[in-house]
């Protein structure tokens, strides 16, 4: 026996019941929403404002409403393709909203088929309590996030001009920091900041986040999103331009990309291409066999780096130390390093690095880039950690009660 399937045969794909089945109209917690699909949520509006989306083909624009919704588990941005008249603070039950993930950030979409109604629950937290959740530290910023509130210190601030469509335009940008790290901030309108006032502490409200090469960049669209504070809510003696937040490797490897962090872990690999390298004169990519993957053969510029893998038993991170960190770690000048590599040859040089570093604890500081290929730390400082085995053994006996 056989089945004959031809043009007139109707074939339907029957979806297997492997998806989590959520009863329609059964609300889900905001922090456990899937990254796509249709959902039902109950939440309070924390922010709502009209916006427009311009059609790419130039045939006009669409009126939309953007905002943020919160329950006790978390908050999520929304985009409504239909008019949404409800005021900030209103508690809503929303059925048939679609979750879409933009960059790293999920967002709820309301359309014609979405059912939105006012919901009554006296025990539901008020807007002030819920909005505490939108206050983020720099360590929590994710690419694509909107309606972010944060308290940060501006440490550098400059005005830049550029020309678009023949018209000179201005952009203000600089460095910001909080005790969890550093990042950049850009503003499209002028803020009352002068060099002599720096560092200055500000409360940011409803700003958005973009990331450039893994580093979050906060965008301020209007001056009224920035409130100036008299003093930072943390120890005001903390110099955030040099401060690095100490973070466990596991947290770095699973969190967002961060700037101004340091970590300690075991060196588990010294890569063969550690030492002197040639970088593309155009893009700084490392040349392979004298050629750049993007810009073809070129003479390149000489640079020094170590490429290591560090590990804490739970996670592994690729560690790249820059020239200055490499030389200070090895305790050599550039010419001493050159002599060493010339004397030993590249293979024996790398083996000598392993002799110094493999299995030992290293402390490195710099920034991290975390993506789907894993985590990478770009270090501008690194040092081997000296440990006393005898002391450690005695501590372990005491801690674990082994006689």
């Amino acid at each position: 026996m056989s089945l004959n399937i031809n043009q007139s045969t109707r074939i339907a794909v029957v979806r297997e019941g492997t998806r989590p089945v959520t009863a329609p109209g059964e609300p889900q917690d905001i922090d456990s929403l899937p990254s796509d699909g249709y959902v039902c949520v109950v939440g309070r509006i924390l922010a709502s404002r009209p916006d427009q989306i311009h059609r790419k083909d130039g045939s006009g624009s669409i009126d939309i409403v953007r905002g943020r919704l919160a329950d006790e588990s978390g908050t999520i941005g929304f985009l409504s393709w239909e008019p949404l008249e409800h005021e900030v603070g209103t508690l809503l039950k929303i059925e048939g909203a679609q979750v879409r993930t933009f960059r790293d950030t999920p967002e709820l979409n309301f359309g014609r088929t979405t059912k939105i109604e006012i919901y009554h629950d006296k025990n539901f937290s008020d807007a002030d309590t819920l909005s505490q959740q939108t206050v983020l530290t720099l360590s929590e910023l994710r690419d694509g996030a909107r309606d972010v509130d944060a308290v940060v210190q501006i440490t550098e601030w400059t005005k830049r001009s550029f020309t678009r469509d023949g018209e000179e335009r201005f952009l203000w940008s600089g460095q910001i920091a909080d005790p969890t790290g550093r990042c950049r901030m850009s503003a499209w309108s002028e803020l009352p900041i002068t060099e002599d006032k720096l560092p200055i502490t500000v409360r940011l409200k409803g700003v958005r986040v973009r990331a450039w090469q893994g580093i979050p960049d906060i965008t301020v669209d209007n001056a009224d999103q920035v409130e100036f504070l008299d003093a930072p809510p943390w120890d005001s003696d903390l110099d955030l331009t040099t401060h690095t937040a100490e973070v466990e490797l596991f947290e770095l490897s699973t969190g967002a990309s961060r700037v101004g962090v340091s970590t300690s872990a075991t060196v588990v690999s010294v890569r063969e291409d550690s030492g002197f390298i040639q970088r593309c004169t155009e893009c700084r990519r490392v040349l392979r066999d004298g050629a750049c993957a993007e810009h073809g053969p070129n003479d390149g510029n000489t640079d020094i780096r170590l490429r290591l893998a560090i590990d804490d038993g739970r996670s592994s991170v690729s560690l790249l130390t820059n020239k200055q960190a490499t030389l200070s770690l090895l305790g050599m000048t550039e010419s001493e390093l050159q002599d060493t590599v010339n004397d030993l040859g590249q293979v024996a040089f790398v083996q000598s690095l392993r002799g110094k570093m493999l299995g030992r604890t290293i402390k490195a500081s710099g920034r991290t880039i975390v993506d789907e290929q894993g985590a990478m730390m770009l270090a501008d400082g690194a040092a081997m950690v000296d440990e006393d085995a005898g002391l450690r053994a005695t501590e372990i006996r005491a801690q674990w009660k082994v006689a």
Binding site: S269, Q351, A389
Partner: protein
């Protein structure tokens, strides 16, 4: 060096490395391999560590070069820590630097120079036709270390072993499900391993691991010399002057001990056949010719008997 072949799609994330004493790794008989070609494989220990990569150290006890049947070169070695032995091999697939290091180590072992070695290695797993399982290591990178760094490695291996022992005992009281282990406070990286290890190994005795840890801490604290530690197998105490002969002797004893334990393990009542004994000895890293010779000796001195020609049993 890495060649022009780049895999398409996402690169696999690097597997993290476990600090582990030899006893825990060598007693493992469970493995796991994903279905995809590039899926990592794991050896799962009794304490539930899901091991793809380790950081291990010890005294290099033996390192020999062997020509394999297809003409490639294979170095096989043994490294001892206070808890037992690691078997490892370095082949043509290893990096140039790893092979160069291995060759220089062969020279040192030939003249009996004691070498403390630290290696980052991938776990390997081997099962004989009879079902006996052996673990071994493929070092990726290694270096010679001094006693101080060995002591530091020992403390870290002890600490991590104690942590796994605690996770293991905490897991016994918990419901044997992912949710149960999460509720019992078991860290995420231990959960998958503990779920399958408990199922595979049943009740285990962790007392030997406590003894291993205590001995390792003694060495780390300098109460005992790393190079002259008492070990389960015949002791390795040797003076540099007569290293070669006594080294050879203890190696002989070790072959014999291994042969006896192989037969003990595999004998179902009819004895174990010649080929199986030798295959298993080779899998343990011994030279086939030497193993054959020692098997003869064991028969001659009455430790073994042959109920049928080519089948060996332990006397008594």
């Amino acid at each position: 060096m890495e060649g022009g072949m780049m895999q398409s799609g996402t690169r696999a994330k690097r597997q993290s490395a476990w600090h582990m004493l030899a006893s825990e790794f060598s007693e493992a008989t469970l493995n796991e391999k994903g279905s995809g070609e590039y899926d990592p494989s794991f050896v799962i220990t009794k304490l539930g560590a899901k091991v793809n990569r380790v950081v291990v150290a010890g005294l290099l006890e033996r390192l020999e070069v062997r020509e394999t049947s297809n003409g490639s070169t294979l170095y096989q070695g043994q490294m001892r820590d206070p808890s037992g032995l690691h078997y490892f091999s370095v082949g043509d697939y290893a990096s140039e630097s790893m092979r160069e290091l291995t060759m220089s180590l062969v020279e040192k072992t030939e003249v009996g120079e004691p070498v403390l070695l630290l290696m980052v290695a991938k776990s390997r797993w081997y099962q004989t036709d009879e079902g006996a399982v052996y673990t071994s290591l493929r070092p990726e990178e290694a270096c010679e270390i001094d006693a101080q760094r060995y002591a530091l490695w020992l403390t870290r291996a002890c600490e991590d072993t104690l942590q796994r022992m605690k996770n293991y005992s905490d897991s016994l009281a918990a419901e044997p499900t992912r949710e149960g282990l999460v509720a019992a406070g078991i860290p995420e990286h231990m959960i998958d391993g503990l779920l399958v290890s408990r199922n595979h190994y049943g009740d285990i005795d962790v007392e030997t691991y406590t003894l291993n840890v205590m001995q390792a801490l003694d060495i780390a604290e300098g109460r005992m010399d790393a190079a002259s530690q008492p070990v389960a197998a015949p002791s390795q105490t040797e003076l540099p002057g007569d290293a070669a002969p006594s080294g050879a002797e203890s190696n002989d004893d070790e072959v014999k001990d291994t042969l006896v334990s192989i037969i003990e393990q595999l004998d179902q009542g009819d004895g174990v056949d010649f080929e199986t004994v030798l295959t298993n000895a080779v899998a343990r890293g011994f030279d086939r010719g030497l193993a054959e010779e020692k098997l003869d000796e064991l028969s001659n001195e009455g430790t073994l008997h042959e109920p049928r020609f080519g089948w060996f049993r332990i006397v008594g």
